[in-house]
């Protein structure tokens, strides 16, 4: 996701025979475009200005600390997913990472685990659904959340119920967690400001660019880009 933000062919996802190189599986496009316009409005009026205030008011080390805490709090869910996917080694890495950063990293503010080679093995419930054989489904843009697919949206809903952290925490801790996540998101909006601005406000069709970026990066994360879909402009110079 970070690198997707760093620059802004789509491959066919397993099982989605209807998806070809340029024809995106987007039957809800009209509705999605309305949501995209809404999200852009929210970003322009609220998210971007507050990220500017946050970025200028809060020193860098503190912003990084908050992002670290947010990432650390996501690890129990990642481990649950690693297990549900039957992936033992990533589950062990993420568990160790959580233990190291929660203790030596002072509740996740610092990230000594990365220096020990325990980098996060990112995953989520959407990936679990993919591993279980669910098809990607149509593209959707969700209000306030942004680009997704039907499968990834279902994964997010699962996450609300199956995140071990949610089960372990009650109010007010659960509100603190939500607060950290919101600040972390605003911090990322500040950090990648130029890239996000160029995508949202300088593209000729920011909806299509966001859709392409999300689907390509997501398929890369899930390892579902198919080599036979690789585009060769010397064979097909007019990209038909």
């Amino acid at each position: 996701m970070l690198a997707a933000a760093a620059i802004g062919l789509s491959a066919c996802a397993g099982g989605d025979a209807a998806v070809s190189r340029d024809a995106v599986n987007d039957p809800f496009e009209a509705q999605n475009r309305r949501v995209h316009a809404f999200n852009r409005g929210i970003d322009r009026a609220l998210v971007k200005p507050s990220s500017q205030v946050y970025g200028r008011a809060v020193p860098g080390f503190l912003r990084i600390g908050i992002t670290n805490v947010g990432n650390n709090l996501g690890l129990p869910a990642a481990v649950a997913n690693n297990v549900l996917q039957g992936r033992v080694e990533p589950a062990a890495t993420n568990t160790l990472r959580f233990l190291v950063n929660t203790t030596f990293g002072l509740g996740g503010v610092l990230d000594p685990a990365t220096d020990m080679g325990l980098t996060e093995r990112e995953t989520d419930f959407g990936e679990t659904l993919h591993v279980w054989g669910a098809a990607e489904g149509p593209y959707v843009e969700l209000p306030l959340i942004g680009p997704s697919t039907v499968r990834d949206t279902a994964g997010m809903v699962m996450g609300v119920f199956l995140d071990p952290l949610g089960a372990a925490l009650d109010s007010p801790e659960s509100e603190y967690v939500l607060g950290v996540r919101v600040l972390s998101t605003i911090g990322e909006r500040y950090r990648y400001s130029d890239t996000i601005d160029s995508l949202l406000y300088q593209s000729a069709d920011s909806y299509a660019q966001a859709r392409l970026l999300y689907l390509q990066n997501r398929r890369f994360e899930l390892g579902t880009e198919a080599e036979e879909e690789a585009y060769d402009p010397y064979e097909d110079p007019y990209a038909q």
């Binding site: 300088q202 392409l212 890369f220 585009y231 060769d232 010397y234 110079p237 990209a239």
Partner: protein, 210 residues
């Protein structure tokens, strides 16, 4: 392998190519139409090693934004097959365009793409890219590299390289799955639509949009 020419390229006369290459400051090696030898994995990797060394040099040069853009344009001219990138970004509309229109569009696209991607690479300041491997894909090669940026988890950057222009050049950059050709096809298509399909207007506007 028999040199394969695309229909558009065979229309382009050698003299026009000369003028184009001279205008772009390209080396005369660009003029060899479809070299007879085949590119190897090692050569593809060597090309990207040189490219990456140049990019690393620029992002750590401490130069001003405009100096960096000029450097990136020079790097794009030297290492990228801008003609094929421009043509495939334009898509089916390239077929209706006259050779003169394509020449002007390609020149405008060169400025646009160098500025746009130069701006992204500028965010790599203080970082570095390392080539880790190369492999054949279809009729071309993919060179795999890892970008190390300050304060970020390392991520993958792939360069697709071909010699079908007559030189060893890259024609696509894929960053964690996000593909330059595909993004530009969508973007240029949308820009052309917004101008009622008027290629001349797009060509005039393009350098300012990068």
């Amino acid at each position: 392998m028999i040199p394969t020419k695309t229909p558009m390229r065979s229309e382009v006369s050698r003299r026009r190519l000369l003028a184009l290459a001279a205008a772009a400051g390209a080396s005369t090696a660009a003029l060899a139409p479809g070299a007879a030898r085949a590119l190897t994995t090692d050569e593809a990797r060597a090309l990207i090693d040189r490219l990456v060394a140049e990019i690393n040099g620029v992002i750590n040069s401490g130069g001003s934004e405009s100096a960096m853009f000029a450097e990136f344009e020079r790097i794009f001219t030297r290492y990228a097959d801008v003609a094929i990138i421009a043509q495939s970004a334009l898509g089916p509309a390239a077929r209706q365009a006259s050779p003169a229109q394509m020449q002007a569009f390609t020149a405008a696209f060169r400025t646009y793409i160098s500025r746009k991607y130069g701006r992204r690479f500028r965010e790599f300041i203080g970082g570095r890219i390392e080539v880790t491997g190369a492999e054949p894909v279809k009729s071309f090669f993919e060179v795999i590299s890892t970008a190390y940026l300050r304060g970020e988890a390392p991520f993958e950057v792939r360069f697709q390289v071909s010699d079908r222009s007559g030189r060893d050049l890259f024609f696509n950059i894929i960053i964690e799955g996000v593909n330059m050709l595909a993004s530009e096809r969508a973007e240029i298509g949308a820009l052309l639509d917004a101008r009622g399909g008027d290629l001349n207007r797009l060509t005039a506007d393009l350098p300012g949009l990068g």
